[in-house]
């Protein structure tokens, strides 16, 4: 059990790496896709060919990785080693005299970039009309096998990652207690932090804020509303979970094409940003760019490509399976104060509050009008304000 002191880190991708990626994007030979009736859903079979063409044209002609890199480097980043595994993280000290500590965890196919637009809001709320004393110390790690973190030798899952995060916060950064936040895998890691690493269990996680239904109590749906939710969730799994089934069982079989083909990886990832986001526009039409700009989509994607982590990122699914899934032991729950942020276009929806309460000690439940799976990136201000309000509740001793 060793942990090193953090060393500062700056992203600086060699030009040759960028050139090699762009050469393949430029040389892409477009092919057929199944015919879609006029007015039909062009994403019905996966990624829409027309949108991929448009995105790739932008990628080679207009996208500026160096500008993206500059934005990513705008906040202090570090590497620390935990048991030989390098962990990359952003660390921004909050305003105020006694900031709380907050660890935010991204998921797949996201990255730390999801949180870039909320970092200042969380650390320095006074800059946005908030109270200076609400500022938090912000820690945002890259998951093992993702981005600028190291690649584990075998798949690691969210439970193992939570154990690493607790040590990152306490041993490496000296934060004895902290609040965890996450969506997607981040919600599972954060859920395990709250479940396995609470102060009562000798850890430092004293509260948790979740924007996806991750670690679940071992209960069956009981009320009609719960049963209705379960039926809907099963349908989503049937139609939307193929990537999960594959990444959980045979990540290596997928990785050859995705590591070799930047456009291939783009389609695999962008299809998810399309499917899981709130694409509703003011004009009543849906479009992926109502949720994200091309620069945002490509910055997140390029983080996978420049670090050669498409493959190792998918290992996380297998890691989850190997460590036994995401269910709590029967008759147990998360005891620390919990905030739930329920965004309307989340594809893996929260069950009714009655069911969530069987697994969590809920002190705050927020239903929003807008936003999806990538809430911090889609609707940063709303997301940050909810997190800050939750932190205040925890600080004020609400329970």
């Amino acid at each position: 059990m060793t942990a090193t002191t953090p060393t500062p880190f700056t992203i600086a991708v060699p030009q040759g790496k960028l050139d090699a990626i762009l050469a393949k994007v430029r040389a892409y030979e477009w092919h057929d896709m199944p015919e879609i009736a006029p007015g039909g859903n062009r994403w019905a079979y996966g990624a829409d060919m027309d949108y991929m063409k448009e995105l790739c044209a932008y990628w080679v002609e207009k996208f500026d990785w160096r500008a993206a890199e500059k934005k990513l480097n705008a906040f202090p980043q570090f590497h620390a080693e935990l048991d030989g595994l390098k962990i990359h993280f952003i660390h921004v000290k909050g305003s105020g005299t006694k900031p709380e500590n907050l660890i935010l965890t991204h998921g797949w196919p996201g990255s730390v970039f999801e949180f870039y637009d909320v970092i200042d809001r969380l650390a320095h709320p006074e800059k946005f009309g908030g109270n200076v004393e609400d500022g938090v110390n912000v820690v945002i790690p890259s998951l093992p096998g993702y981005a600028f973190s190291g690649k584990p030798k075998t798949p690691l899952g969210p439970k193992a990652t939570a154990a690493l995060w607790d040590r990152l916060m306490r041993e490496v950064l000296g934060y004895d207690t902290y609040i965890a936040q996450g969506g997607d895998w981040g919600s599972v890691v954060s859920g395990w932090l709250a479940y396995n690493h609470s102060p009562a269990k000798g850890g430092g996680c004293k509260a948790v804020h979740l924007n996806m239904w991750g670690v679940r109590p071992s209960v069956l749906p009981e009320t009609d509303a719960e049963k209705q939710w379960a039926a809907g969730a099963a349908m989503v799994v049937e139609l939307e979970s193929a990537y999960l089934r594959l990444q959980m069982t045979k990540p290596q079989t997928l990785s050859y094409g995705m590591m070799d083909s930047p456009v291939g990886a783009a389609a695999w990832i962008i299809e998810k940003f399309h499917g899981w986001s709130d694409r509703r526009g003011a004009d009543g039409h849906e479009h992926i760019e109502n949720a994200f700009t091309k620069d945002q989509l490509l910055t997140n994607l390029m983080i996978y490509l420049v670090t050669d982590t498409f493959g190792t990122a998918t290992w996380f699914y297998r890691g989850m399976m190997e460590e036994g899934g995401t269910n709590m032991a029967p008759d147990t729950k998360v005891e620390v104060p919990t905030g739930i942020a329920n965004f309307p276009k989340e594809f893996l929806t929260f069950p009714p509050r009655s069911m969530v309460e069987k697994g969590y000690n809920i002190i705050r439940w927020s239903d929003f009008e807008k936003g999806g799976h990538f809430a911090a990136l889609e609707t940063g201000e709303v997301f940050a304000n909810d997190v800050l309000a939750f932190v205040s509740q925890v600080k004020g001793g609400a329970a």
Binding site: P34, G46, A47, P155, S241, T249, Y256, A266, G311
Partner: protein
């Protein structure tokens, strides 16, 4: 014989030099993934060391021209058929006339991730048994490329086995002029062939399958209760399938999430497909590298992959998984059953139990039942001699020895 209403044009495979150069260039620029420790048994998917060897061979030693010549050694044709929606499908097929004056017409259909190449080594032994010192029957051998595969055309939208079966029937009758014919297949080919037997029972004299895809409507009164043996077999298959079905899940729901990578990267295509050969082939799994290469020599497996690559059909081939379930043609209607005499030969896949005959008899008129002791999912490639002998024996035992 009936009148031939639709012409077939002779066809020869001729990939251009520039396409071959392009493939080699892409292989040279391949960026490989890393691999979890402990993947010697392909537990996380396609093994990296195997891929490194395979891709180096594809790039440096594989001689497409030699393979092309071998693929071209039997007469091939293409015929264009218009379907009920007015869409034209161009069907590529090998057509080798059998010895003697009355050979049995036999249409043999491959599946995924295979091509018509699967049957290449059994065409001659089935068409000309006397050359191999074997008793008849001799067959007129017809080996088509599935719609969306190989040198057949890519459909505008994925079409499933029931519709492909109607095209096959027209290929046999309207293009080739047969009134009655036999059929043989495994994998997706067995879906097509089963549908052929259901939809054109008067024309199909008998079928030989190496996979049994049709499922009975268990609720119907004609169906006896599921036996203990059947229940155990179903549970074992389902458990295995949970581990193996990732590829199917993707291809049946979001083929266009996968397509961009496997259309762009020959390594991606090979990595995606090789997994199935390892898993379903009768490979020696003690030394997995040796076992895989012995079972599927690089020249053989790379010819398969090269056909997908050069024809640009990996995506249209994958989308058969979207069309098949959408068509719902694998589930028999209550009381429905294949009445055509059916021979079933099961080639072993190491981890799977034998299919209970009682299960097969719910959906098929089983006239001959064989459990083979070697040869896997790609039996015609893996054990061509054993396979050809078994097909010949099966039709002879079912009394199908004459074309007319």
């Amino acid at each position: 014989m009936t009148d031939r209403l639709i012409p077939a044009d002779p066809f020869t495979i001729a990939v251009s030099d520039s396409e071959i150069d392009d493939l080699k260039r892409r292989l040279a620029a391949t960026r490989l993934p890393n691999e979890p420790l402990g993947n010697e048994h392909w537990d996380y998917g396609t093994n990296l060391s195997y891929m490194e060897k395979l891709l180096a061979y594809w790039r440096d030693e594989f001689d497409w021209r030699a393979q092309e010549k071998s693929l071209n050694r039997f007469p091939q044709y293409r015929a264009t058929l218009k379907d009920e929606d007015g869409e034209e499908h161009t069907i590529h097929f090998i057509y080798e006339r059998g010895s003697g004056d009355n050979p049995v017409p036999l249409i043999m259909t491959h599946g995924w991730p295979s091509t018509f190449r699967e049957f290449l080594d059994v065409v001659d032994p089935l068409a000309h048994p006397e050359k191999y010192g074997r008793e008849g029957p001799a067959f007129d051998v017809i080996v088509p490329s599935l719609v969306g595969y190989g040198f057949s055309s890519i459909p505008r939208k994925p079409i499933g086995p029931a519709r492909i079966a109607d095209l096959w029937h027209r290929l046999m009758t309207e293009v080739l002029g047969y009134e009655r014919y036999a059929a043989e297949a495994g994998d997706w080919g067995s879906f097509v062939t089963s549908r052929l037997a259901l939809q054109h029972a008067d024309s199909v004299t008998g079928i030989h399958l190496t996979m049994l895809p049709l499922r009975p409507s268990l609720k119907h009164e004609s169906q006896p209760p599921v036996s203990e043996e059947e229940a155990h077999w179903i549970a074992t298959m389902q458990k295995w399938w949970r581990q193996e079905e990732g590829y199917r899940s993707i291809q049946s729901t979001k083929p266009m999430a996968l397509a961009f990578g496997v259309m762009d990267s020959p390594a991606g295509l090979a990595g995606w497909l090789a997994d199935k050969y390892y898993r379903l082939g009768d490979t020696d799994k003690t030394d997995t590298m040796k076992g895989m290469i012995q079972r599927f020599p690089f020249d053989v497996i790379l010819t398969q992959f090269s056909i997908y690559w050069f024809t640009g059909t990996i995506n249209s081939a994958n989308t058969l998984y979207k069309a098949g379930p959408a068509e719902g043609s694998a589930l028999l209607r209550p009381g429905e059953k294949v009445t055509v005499p059916t021979a079933y030969s099961e080639y072993p896949i190491d981890v799977l139990p034998e299919t209970p005959r009682s299960w097969a008899e719910r959906s098929y008129n089983i006239a001959r039942w064989r459990m083979m002791d070697r040869g896997g999912h790609f039996a015609a490639m893996e054990e061509p001699e054993l396979f050809a002998d078994d097909v010949r024996d099966a039709f002879r035992e079912m009394g199908i020895t004459q074309g007319r």
